[in-house]
Assembly symmetry: C2
Homo-oligomer: 394 residues x 2
């Protein structure tokens, strides 16, 4: 007398959450300083000062109903206007308030977008391995099938050949995530250009638009001076899903947005986004934090801390002989398992109190994800254990 699929989803814990829980238990036994938890992507860099300041200012200067009342379902108009202005100034985006729908974070941005565009049970949504495991859950919730493109383990860009082959008359959308969780890679302008050519050609062939869903929670976490690309410039039928969880270190506050630019060919998409939000019970995005992100537009947490962690970890592990994917964005290091079974490797790491996530559930067996949104000191202290681990393979 409960829905079996929902029961299964709710009772199975993810590998990440299991490792995280194990880490907390283990810390109680052997001491927090002896457990090296690289399992979870919970930002450790504090939110920028403007978050505290904005909350204080709003609380001090506005009346209760203006702070905590309902906003329009799509979000407060002033917030969406400010956001449009910011996107125009920063990316020359040519958007306006009515292109934005404020959401309760990245997951909501995706579930709402998918529900808005999926029409029939045979619809397919492409995801590119390695990918955030919840993608397949969200695609199934929208009533479509997830089709997984195998990883390009040479460059961790998009295998355009595989992409072209994977498109069928049922293809409705592709989810692209750059900077990428878990691989830390960033897609280049060249990749987007070529991908857009394929999507345009294939849309014409199959007789309907293929949407590019650009999932960008790590947009501003990008290194080596790489440019942030505005994806709708490369491909008109792009829907942008954004969240402030990572850029402003606010993951628990659930605040983000969906951007449906005017370049999207079907004018029904934006109203369908509104309808999907309504159907799933997202009345409006949390009001106080809508106003807070408006006041903090363009700001981010201190990205230098992640950059320093990145260099420390990448250089340290490379020196020991690990085969790492060079991270250009996000806060994950993707490492090839020295044995084919990444689960076995992760277990050996666990025995040394090193908690790293096998990437099988990310669609990329044989790799592990090491999250470096941690204290730099923990990275340094973990090196002897990483050294012991690799020595088991030499």
């Amino acid at each position: 007398m409960a829905n079996k699929e929902m029961y299964t989803l709710g009772s199975q814990s993810s590998v990440i959450r299991e490792l995280f829980s194990y880490g907390q238990e283990q810390a109680a036994k052997v001491g927090k300083e002896n457990v090296f938890d690289f399992s979870i992507g919970n930002p450790t860099v504090p939110a920028p000062a403007c978050i505290r300041e904005s909350i204080a200012e709003i609380m001090a200067t506005r009346e209760s109903a203006a702070i905590h009342g309902y906003t329009a379902a799509s979000g407060d108009t002033a917030v969406r206007q400010g956001l449009a202005q910011y996107m125009n100034d920063t990316y020359d985006a040519h958007v306006k308030a009515d292109n934005f729908y404020m959401t309760c974070g990245a997951a909501a941005s995706l579930t709402i977008t998918l529900k808005a565009i999926v029409e029939a049970p045979e619809d397919e949504v492409l995801v590119i391995a390695p990918f955030f495991p919840e993608y397949t859950v969200f695609i199934e919730n929208a009533g479509a099938h997830a089709v997984i493109l195998p990883p390009d383990t040479e460059h961790f860009q998009i295998s355009l050949e595989n992409l072209e082959k994977a498109i069928t008359p049922h293809t409705r959308a592709i989810i692209v995530n750059s900077p990428n969780n878990p691989a830390g890679t960033v897609y280049s302008a060249d990749t987007y250009t070529k991908m857009a050519d394929i999507l345009t050609k294939k849309s014409a062939e199959i007789g309907h638009a293929i949407y590019l869903i650009s999932d960008e929670p790590y947009r501003e976490i990008i290194y080596d001076g790489l440019p942030i690309l505005y994806v709708p410039k490369f491909y008109a039928n792009t829907i942008v899903c954004y969240s402030y969880s990572k850029s402003l270190s606010l993951p628990g506050e659930r605040i983000g947005y969906i951007l449906v630019p005017d370049s999207v060919s079907d004018k029904d998409v934006y109203p369908a986004v509104c309808g999907a939000g309504r159907a799933m019970g997202f009345v409006c995005a949390p009001h106080l934090f809508q106003d807070v992100v408006l006041k903090c537009l363009g700001q981010t947490s201190d990205m230098n801390i992640y950059d320093e962690n990145r260099k420390l970890l990448y250089n340290g592990l490379e020196e020991m002989g690990y085969d790492c994917v060079y991270p250009q964005g996000a806060f994950y290091l993707f490492v090839k398992s020295p044995e084919p079974d990444a689960n076995a490797f992760s277990e050996k790491a666990k025995a040394l109190n090193l908690l790293i996530v096998p990437a099988d559930s990310f669609g990329c067996p044989g790799y592990v994800r090491i999250s470096y949104c941690v204290e730099a000191d923990m990275i340094k202290r973990s090196f002897p254990a990483f050294k012991k681990l690799i020595e088991q393979y030499t």
Copy 2:
């Protein structure tokens, strides 16, 4: 290339929202003081002082990650423990932290609960007219059919005879909303006892549990010293959906919970709730406001203001000759239209700048809903218009 049902849901504005928008336009033309907007249920009484104090205290004493980081998907453990303690102290509820799943408000509580318990496309969920119009949207989103019980326009309690007749082998749940939006009625212990008898008998007959979904956003907005009833005491298979939107005047912050007590016979329901939240992309309820409601347990906005509005409006309209349902809870006055077509009546009211909602979309034609979560002064100033309106029928 957008989902047609979602497009329809997103592009059709509700009667309430349309009236509300009309009111704002009209106010710009004839002056805010000449428009009497009784259309919307947006709390006007300020949040209690503890909300501002709790936010200030949390911001001043905790680190960023402890304020804004992810909580467990089901909600922070300390919050759920505090909530369990409060429910045990107040209602002798015998619940614990793990019976609670924190949500983004009442709508999310309902969509998640429905998705957790609906199994097959032929499943039916009963709603009792008059009812909050989004119920049917949420039931359809879960993949079930809404079966509407006609209103008992004599007492606006539950017609038990109709309830018994409406139950079929496909009945999965009934949604009960007391204090009621839009009728302002409160179900008595006697009503719950008799309803429980029917549900127990019918569950046995059809061979599976019928869940009672108790939607309680107005729980504490109750008048004349009527007791607040803890519904699972009357019927074991009760799932409670709650929101702090109305009791703490926080509708924009999206914070509430689902309570699945141990008396619910199927132990898969709680994990299914967790799975349904996950599938729809509710990662966790907004963190700061989880902690804020913990600090404000047992507090409410000033309910006396609503009570005074209630008396003022009820007595005023009764005196003029309106036929009103006596309101025992919530902040709505339900009034019989003096002509059979409540839409025509509402249009005549609109011509006098009186904005009142015809109840057709609430499943109760021939009635209007007058929301009195407004300034008392506006109620007083509206009386000449209400008088002119009724005079058109005498």
